[in-house]
C-alpha cells in the first residue's frame, strides 16, 4: 500500500526526521489558510500515488496566501498522471543547498533490507548513474547502526554537520522501514539547507515515499486504508485475488501467476487479445472464485477462458463456482474451460452434468477461445 506524501512525512516526522512546516489541505480556502499560518512563500504539492509529479506540473509555488488559493483552485480536480487531484500538501518553500537521495528497500535476491543513498538527489533514483549510488545491504538480525550510517555518508562525500545529521536520518529511516513493514521508504530529495551558517546546516525531508507491505497491513491498524487501482481492481483485491486490466477482448482466469502469464502468452500466440487476467490464486474456495468469475463477466468480454491446473485449488470447487455464476447471474458470452489436477474427475463431471465442456489441453482451449472471440487479430 502506497501512502500519500503527507502521510509518509507525518510518520517520518514522528520518528524524528525533520520535515518542512506544512499541512495537507482539502480545498482552496484551506490551502490559503495553511499558507497564512506557516508564512509564504509556499510550495503546493498535489498528493497522488505516482512518481514524476514535479515534471508533470504537480508542484507549484505561491508568494502569498491569495496566490496560493488561486493556484489551488487550478489544481483541485485536475488530472495528473491519471489521478484526479483531491488533496494538496502546502509547505514552507525551502532554500536548498544540496539534494540527496536516501531510501531503504527490500532486496529480494539478498533477502535483506537494502540501504540506498546518492549525492545526486531530486531525480528518480533510476536515472542516477550506478556509480553515483551507494548501496549497503543491512543484516536484518542486527539492524542499521550509526557506524554503518557513518560509512555511507562518508561515501556520499559529506563532512561536518551535514554528515552527522544525514547519518542520524539514515538510522531513523531504517527504523521507520522496520516499524512500518515497508517495502520501500525513501526521501527524495533529502535536502541540506544552509541554516544559520557553517556547522548549523539543516537536513530536511523535502519529499517522501512510504510503501507498506500489503501482507503486513493486519498489524498496522494505525494506518489509513488507501486503495489504489481501478474500481474493478479494487473489487477483486477485496475478494483477495490478483487482477490486471489489459486492452483486449478475452477475459482470462487462471490459477497461479505463472500459469496466468503463460495463458496470456499462449493466447497471444494464437492471435487472441486478453482483456484482463485474474489470478484465482492457490486454494480459493467456491465463493471467492464465483465472485471472481462474476467480475470477469462484468467486464463484457467477447469470450472467457478459465484455465485451472488444480493443486491447492480443487477442480470441483472451480466447477461449482462456474455453475453458481451460470445459474444465478448467467454467462452471456462463450466460456471455455480447461480443467486438470486435484479432483479433476469430479469437476469435469459437474460441468458435464450442466452441459458445459471442459478441455484437458490448454493448447486446444486457447485455440477454441480465440475462435469464439472472433478469431486471430
Amino acid at each position: 500500500m502506497k501512502l500519500y506524501e503527507y502521510l509518509a512525512k507525518e510518520i517520518l516526522g514522528k520518528s524524528g526526521i525533520p520535515t518542512p512546516p506544512g499541512r495537507v489541505a482539502m480545498n482552496p480556502d484551506e490551502v490559503a489558510a495553511v499558507a497564512a499560518e506557516i508564512g509564504a512563500p509556499v510550495a503546493i504539492k498535489a498528493q497522488i500515488l505516482a512518481g514524476g509529479r514535479g515534471k508533470a506540473g504537480g508542484i507549484r509555488f505561491a508568494d502569498h496566501p491569495e496566490q496560493a488559493r488561486a493556484v489551488a483552485k487550478e489544481m483541485f480536480g485536475a488530472d495528473l498522471k491519471g489521478f484526479k487531484i483531491d488533496r494538496l500538501l502546502v509547505e514552507k518553500k525551502l532554500k536548498i543547498e544540496n539534494e540527496l537521495y536516501v531510501g531503504v528497500a527490500v532486496d529480494g535476491a539478498a533477502k535483506l533490507p537494502l540501504l540506498i543513498a546518492s549525492a545526486q538527489g531530486g531525480m528518480s533514483i533510476e536515472e542516477v548513474p550506478e556509480k553515483a549510488i551507494v548501496k549497503r545491504p543491512i543484516d536484518i538480525t542486527w539492524g542499521l547502526y550509526p557506524y554503518t550510517a557513518r560509512e555511507v555518508v562518508r561515501r556520499l562525500g559529506l563532512t561536518g554537520t551535514p554528515a552527522k545529521k544525514v547519518a542520524e536520518v539514515l538510522v531513523k529511516l531504517y527504523r521507520v522501514f522496520r516499524a512500518y513493514d515497508a517495502e520501500l521508504v525513501e526521501i527524495n530529495p533529502l535536502i541540506i539547507a544552509a541554516g544559520e551558517g557553517p556547522g548549523k546546516e539543516e537536513v530536511i525531508a523535502a519529499d517522501a515515499r512510504l510503501n507498506v507491505d500489503d501482507y503486513a497491513l493486519f498489524r498496522h491498524k494505525e494506518l489509513p486504508v488507501i486503495d489504489e487501482g481501478t474500481a474493478l481492481e479494487k473489487k477483486v483485491k477485496a475478494i483477495g485475488l490478483a487482477y490486471v486490466e489489459l486492452d483486449g477482448d478475452i477475459a482470462v482466469m487462471a490459477n497461479g501467476a505463472g500459469m496466468a502469464m503463460a495463458t496470456l502468452d499462449i493466447l497471444s500466440r494464437y492471435g487472441g487479445r486478453p482483456a484482463n487476467f485474474l489470478d484465482a490464486g492457490g486454494g480459493a474456495s467456491v465463493e471467492p472464485t464465483a465472485q471472481a468469475i462474476d467480475v470477469l463477466v462484468a467486464t463484457k468480454p467477447k469470450a472467457i477462458l478459465i484455465n485451472i491446473f488444480g493443486g491447492i485449488t480443487r477442480c470441483d470447487d472451480v466447477a461449482k463456482a462456474i455453475l453458481w455464476v451460470k445459474q444465478n447471474r448467467g454467462i452471456p458470452v462463450p466460456l471455455v474451460v480447461r480443467l486438470v489436477g486435484t479432483n479433476e474427475a469430479e469437476g469435469v463431471r459437474l460441468l458435464q452434468e450442466a452441459g458445459l465442456n471442459a478441455y484437458r489441453s490448454l493448447d486446444e482451449a486457447a485455440a477454441k477461445v480465440v475462435a469464439a472471440a472472433g478469431g486471430a487479430k
Binding site: 533477502k111 533490507p113 490486471v244 505463472g258 503463460a262 496470456l264 492457490g282 493443486g311 491447492i312
Partner: protein, 316 residues
C-alpha cells in the same frame, strides 16, 4: 537419489488441524509421504488422518523424529512456527503459506541461515521426489520417478510442464517450487547446484518468468553445468510496469524482460522452449546429445535451443 527430500524424510505438518493442513496431510499420506506428526498449539493429543498432533515442534521431533516440516499456518503465525521448527533442529522447511509479510520472510531467511536450515518457499507448492516423498500441495498423479530435475517459480505452470514430462516418459528426480514471493529461501542457483551434484539427475528443467534478475543469474551458473538445461519462461505477452500476480513478476526499467532472460539463458547454454508442451521434446534432444558429447559444460556447447522444437531442427 533425490534432492532435499527422499524416502527417509519424516514430515511434520505444522498447522495440521486447519482445512488445508488436514486436506494435504491426507493427500501426502496417500502419496506415501511419511507424515509422522503435526502441530497445532492447544490441540496436542488429537489426531488428524491418524497422525498425532502436538502443541510444539519440540515434542514432534522428540517423540516422532520429524526431520522436515511443512507449514500450513496462517501468515501471521508463520514466522513463529518456522522458527519453532528450525530451533528444534529441523533443517528442511517447506512453507506453503501465502501472504507472509516480507519483513517476516527476511527474518525467517536470516534465522534459517544462522541455523543452516533450508526454507523452500514461502508461497510455494512444495517439493516432490516422485515415488519417494511429496511435501506440498501439488496433485499426486502428474509425476513419475525418473532422471529430470525441475525447478520452478510458479506452481500450476510447473504442474503443466511436469505432467507433459511424465506423459513424454521423462520422470523426475525432484521437482522444487521456489515460491512466488519477493523473498524466498532458494534461488535457481541453489537448486541447480543440487541437481548438478545429484548423480541421478541427468537433465534439468527451469521454469521462470519475467521480472527480477533470477533467471539471468541462473544463466551464469548454467554455463558451468555439465547437465543440459531446458527453460520455459512465462510473461512474454505481459505489459511492462504491471505486476503480474507474483511479487517479482513485473518488468521495471528494461530489467527482467522476457527477451533479456531468453538471451541470457541461451548464452548460458540452456535451451528455451516457446510453449510449455515443447519442453519434453527439447529436453530429449539435449539429453541425447549430452550422452553423445560426454561431460562438456553447457558453455562449451553451441546449441541455441530457442525455437528448436517449434522449428523441428535437429541438434547441430
Amino acid at each position: 537419489m533425490a534432492i532435499y527430500i527422499d524416502e527417509k524424510t519424516k514430515v511434520l505438518v505444522q498447522g495440521i488441524t486447519g482445512n488445508q493442513g488436514a486436506f494435504h496431510t491426507k493427500q501426502m499420506l496417500a502419496y506415501g509421504t511419511r507424515v509422522v506428526a503435526g502441530t497445532s498449539p492447544g490441540k496436542g493429543g488429537q489426531e488428524v488422518e491418524g497422525v498425532p498432533v502436538f502443541d510444539t515442534a519440540e515434542e514432534a521431533v522428540e517423540a516422532r523424529g520429524a526431520n522436515a516440516s511443512v507449514i500450513f499456518v496462517p501468515a501471521a503465525f508463520a514466522k513463529d512456527t518456522i522458527f519453532d521448527a528450525i530451533d528444534n533442529g529441523i533443517k528442511t522447511v517447506v512453507a506453503i503459506t501465502e501472504g507472509i509479510p516480507v519483513h517476516d520472510a527476511m527474518e525467517i531467511m536470516a534465522f534459517a541461515r544462522a541455523h543452516e536450515a533450508v526454507v523452500i518457499g514461502p508461497n510455494t507448492f512444495g517439493v516432490i521426489s516422485p515415488g519417494k516423498c511429496k511435501i506440498g500441495i501439488m496433485p499426486n498423479q502428474i509425476y513419475a520417478p525418473g532422471k529430470v530435475g525441475v525447478v520452478a517459480r510458479s506452481g500450476t505452470l510447473s504442474y503443466e510442464i511436469a505432467a507433459s514430462l511424465t506423459q513424454a516418459g521423462l520422470g523426475q528426480t525432484t521437482v522444487v517450487g521456489m515460491g512466488g514471493d519477493r523473498v524466498v529461501g532458494l534461488s535457481f542457483i541453489d537448486v541447480l547446484k543440487r541437481f548438478q551434484a545429484d548423480p541421478e539427475t541427468e537433465g534439468v528443467v527451469l521454469i521462470g518468468e519475467i521480472g527480477g534478475r533470477a533467471e539471468e543469474e541462473a544463466a551464469e551458473y548454467i554455463k558451468g553445468m555439465t547437465k543440459p538445461v531446458v527453460a520455459y519462461l512465462a510473461g512474454k505477452a505481459a505489459p511492462p510496469g504491471k505486476r503480474m500476480g507474483h511479487a517479482g513478476a513485473i518488468i521495471e526499467r528494461g530489467r527482467g524482460t522476457f527477451d533479456s532472460k531468453v538471451k541470457a539463458l541461451e548464452a548460458g547454454g540452456a535451451a528455451v522452449a516457446d510453449l510449455p508442451w515443447q519442453v519434453p521434446e527439447l529436453l530429449k534432444g539435449r539429453l541425447a546429445s549430452a550422452k553423445a558429447g560426454g561431460g562438456e559444460t553447457a558453455a562449451t556447447r553451441n546449441g541455441n535451443g530457442h525455437g528448436e522444437a517449434g522449428k523441428k531442427k535437429g541438434k547441430k
